[in-house]
Amino acid sequence: MQPNWTLNAYSTLLTDPVVLTAFLTTLRISLIVTAVCLVIGYPVAVGIARAGRWRPFLIFLLITPMLTDVLIRAYGWIVMLGQNGLINVLMTSLGLWERPHQLLYTELSVILELIHELCPFMVLPIASVVERINPALREAAMNLKAGPVRTFLHITLPLSIPGIIAGTFLTFALAMSAFVAPLVLGGGNVITMTVLMRQSMFTTLNWPLGAAQSVALVLLVVAMLAVYRRQLADTDKAIGG
């Protein structure tokens, strides 16, 4: 470590094109992952919120992947995305692809793993907000002759926005700081901020840069999580739950 206090590492952080590229890669992956999680996760959250006696079982199913070792989950994706894996076999036998594609160790494989890993974190905050929407509001809309689509657009969707914001920020923060997915499924081809941090620590041995990157990542993630917590706390106050 350098004996003197300097801001050199931070100026590298802002000017080095490698760092910038890694940041943009991470940003791109995180935005795609968060958007897809929101789209596929929202109906799940509504389903869970209205599942009645099935709700505990569905929540159990939702958190089972979290109880499985990250490396094991990543291995599952390696198996599914390989040349003879489920996806290649499915696509070629359906005639959609002429030959197997290289899926593993690409940005796509990292994105697929992260969507799978982070979807529960999108679903849970939204479900907790949707659950608290007073059913009388929807009944009232229905009595006033609103159809299911209008009821959804004018009642459920607007009232669930705090959950959507909370889930989006939580998922985004986790995607930005994800390490195992880019490390294992990126196979060295996908350089995210976290993969670059590992390089600074172990390969280029630029520890001050690794430390500066850590600080930047913490600030980013803590800011996102602050928004997430604020949204959920505001809902608590508004609904009095």
Binding site: M1, P43, V44, V46, G47, R50, A51, P56, L58, I59, F60, L61, L62, T64, P65, L67, T68, D69, V70, L71, I72, A74, Y75, G76, W77, I78, V79, M80, G82, N84, G85, L86, V89, L90, H116, P120, P135, R138, E139, A141, M142, N143, P148, F152, I155, S177, F179, V180, L183, T194, M197, M201, W207, G210, A211, S214, L217, V218, V221, V222
Partner: protein, 278 residues
């Protein structure tokens, strides 16, 4: 009962979507399970036949057989003791910390509570890098101590959260009653508080063990060749081999995790705390 606000067809559509979604969510686990019984040298789909050859291969690896990566049993053992020692340490410190924060009023209480929960907020890679930098400044800290300190930091918040939740539901008048009847603080804590918050302690302990046992990111920055926890061993293995014996190992690990959780749930009704059961 049918909700007003959407038609029956809407509910059916949502139900069908939920089934698809959960199939997708559990797909990697199902695939690993199928792959482990696959007959053939590589993982392929559809499986070409049923065999236990990869479980035999796993035994071969466990015996440090030729042509395999050695150290599986040692890695399992390392992760097991690391999990147990972290669990005991985190429970001891976590119960006392949660009790202090919940029952006493003192300056900086809110800050202390936030500080204890901070590792939940920080990306684990930052915890790992921070510890690596710190240990390199401190000097020669043996690997076991590095791993243990790292794992204590990440497991402690889980115990604090579950025990605090239990303490909130415990009526302080129970403890006051015990003290009115002549019990001192320590006796009250031991005979009233601890038994009442038992399920919080147990679920915190199980979380702590699970978090430690399956942690990769923090260990990755602190481990060494002679002391390799299981997830880091798995990572190194996957760098060189992708054969289905890992699917066999994964299947066994997944089944044992769920057995532990199911038994614990049976014994201590953890679900109520984790919000799984009403």
């Amino acid at each position: 009962m049918r909700y007003a606000g959407e038609g029956r067809s809407g509910s059916r559509l949502l139900g069908g979507y939920l089934v698809l979604f959960f199939l997708y969510l559990e797909a990697p686990i199902i695939i690993i399970f199928l792959a482990s019984f696959n007959d053939g040298p590589t993982v392929r789909f559809p499986p070409v036949g049923l065999s236990l050859q990869w479980y035999e291969e796993l035994l071969h690896i466990a015996r440090d057989g030729s042509g395999t990566k050695p150290g599986l049993v040692k890695a399992l053992w390392t992760s097991a003791w690391l999990g147990v020692v972290s669990m005991v340490g985190a429970v001891f410190a976590g119960v006392l910390a949660a009790y202090g924060i919940q029952r006493y009023r003192f300056g900086g209480r809110a800050i202390l509570r936030q500080a204890l929960l901070l590792p939940l907020l920080f990306p684990q890679i930052v915890t790992g890098i921070g510890l690596l930098l710190w240990f390199s400044q401190v000097g020669s800290v043996p690997t076991w101590a590095r791993l243990l300190i790292g794992h204590l930091i990440i497991t402690l918040p889980y115990v604090v959260v579950t025990v605090s939740a239990s303490l909130q539901t415990l009526d302080p008048r129970l403890e006051e009653a015990a003290m009115n009847l002549g019990a001192n603080r320590i006796a009250t804590f031991w005979h009233i508080t601890i038994p009442s918050i038992r399920s919080g302690i147990v679920s915190g302990a199980i979380f702590a063990w699970l978090i430690s046992f399956s942690n990769f990111t923090v260990s990755f920055f602190l481990y060494s060749g002679e002391l390799t926890p299981l997830p880091t061993w798995l990572y190194e293995y996957l760098q060189h081999f992708l054969d289905p014996s890992i699917a066999a190992l994964s299947t066994l690990l997944i089944i044992s995790t769920f057995l532990v959780l199911a038994i614990a749930n049976r014994l201590f009704a953890l679900g109520r705390l984790a919000g799984l059961r009403k």
